[in-house]
């Protein structure tokens, strides 16, 4: 069962999505809110698997919510749902470290599909995002250490730092250190970008 938290300024969108999601056998809406500042509290309380979030929230920026969620030990997957189909939304979602982007100018069925995909560990972004990151990163992944390559593959698989630490038998701080080096060598800003880059061309 995929437990979902919905955050959207528009009450009618919340109502519609709730009805649609609750009709799916494998999805349950655990909580919903129109207020961005409520999201963190509700995540703490309900521990959803996926947070579906509009970037245009009133009281707080959607990107700030995502950043705060990313810092949590067992962070939920984040799917950005926006009406704006432009480079700006895509960039904001990527920079904030979201797991995917779905559009309100597409059928809600696409949102359903995207929720299942991000829950399954996929990154759901338009093809252009990948090329964009690829084009921007100057450094070739050639000079990664074996440990960094290992960490990269686990980041790409959607593991958090504590999970990677446990898997590799390292301390959290050591993992953090490797991740920082990895990001700077790859020329990426966050886990989402590192994972997209991995999907595009893992180390040989």
């Amino acid at each position: 069962m995929i437990r979902v938290l919905l955050a959207d300024d528009h009450a009618i969108v919340l109502e519609g999505l709730r009805a649609l999601l609750d009709g799916e056998p494998d999805i349950k809406v655990a909580a919903w809110t129109t207020d961005g500042t409520e999201v963190l509290k509700l995540v703490q309380q309900h521990k959803p698997d996926v947070v579906v979030l509009d970037l245009e929230l009133t009281s707080i920026k959607g990107t700030a919510v995502i950043a705060a969620l990313r810092d949590r030990p067992s962070a939920p997957k984040v799917l950005v749902l926006t009406a704006y189909n432009d480079g700006d939304s895509l960039r904001s979602a990527l920079d904030a470290g979201a797991d995917g982007l779905a559009l309100k100018t597409e059928s809600p069925q696409q949102t359903l599909t995207a929720i299942r995909q991000v829950h399954g560990g996929q990154l759901v972004f338009p093809q252009a995002a990948r090329r964009w990151i690829e084009g921007r990163a100057a450094g070739a992944p050639g000079d990664l250490t074996p440990r960094e390559r290992e960490v990269w593959s686990l980041v790409a698989a959607g593991l958090t730092n504590p999970q990677i630490a446990e898997r590799l038998g390292l301390s959290d701080n050591t993992v953090k250190f490797h991740v920082q080096h990895l990001f700077s060598k790859l020329g990426v800003k966050n886990r989402t970008e590192a994972a997209l880059k991995y999907a595009h061309g893992p180390p040989r």
Binding site: H10, I12, V13, E15, G16, L17, A19, L20, G23, A83, Y84, N85, D86, G87, D88, S89, L90, R91, L103, K104, T105, E106, S107, P108, Q109, P126, Q127, A128, A129, R131, W132, G135
Partner: protein
Amino acid sequence: MTAPRDAEARAASRRLLATSERELQRIVLDMHDGPVQDIFAALSQLQVLERSLAGDAMAQQRANQAVQLLERALGEIRNFIGAFRPPGFERRALGEIVEGLAVQHETLTDQGVELDLPTDLGDCALPTKIAIYRILQEALANGHRHSGASRQRLTVHRRGSAIALTVSDDGKGFDPQRVLASEADVGVEGGHFGLRGIQDRVAMLGGSFAIDSAPGRGTSLTVTLPAE
């Protein structure tokens, strides 16, 4: 004694441009905040309804038709408002906006954009920024619709107090004089204003416009605009 009058006319053009841009921006925001949200919500509800009608084939078919109509309406809005500029435009630096446009073009068309953008491009006055956005958007759209090329090349550079843009491809090419003449009295259609529209915008801001193209020889559009 024509110089002061030219300057006056140019200032008036800028004011007009700024006003129409503000209007456009308001329409875009209203569409995103109103109809898009409503239609998306209605579609969600309808899809629930459609499923609950499983026993009644006729009713289910009607619900499905309604779903398809609304999906089409959303698609049309997407194509229509996709042509206008994003929120936060004023705050963002020129380079960031150009980069966003390239990404948007790749997202919407799956045609690659090779971007040549210096890191020290700096910013420019708002009317120039709007003109650059519109011109690049139109040029990229033209290059996608007509060139048949798999990718376009986009360069933006600063030359002293001016910003120079080039959009080029190695596609089919065309006869610029003929196209400009045929566009003489065409207005904005579906958010597109054509080569003539690019030329008019450049003239209003006192810039220069050059197009180099011929059938089978690819296309290169170069525009220079005063930064301030």
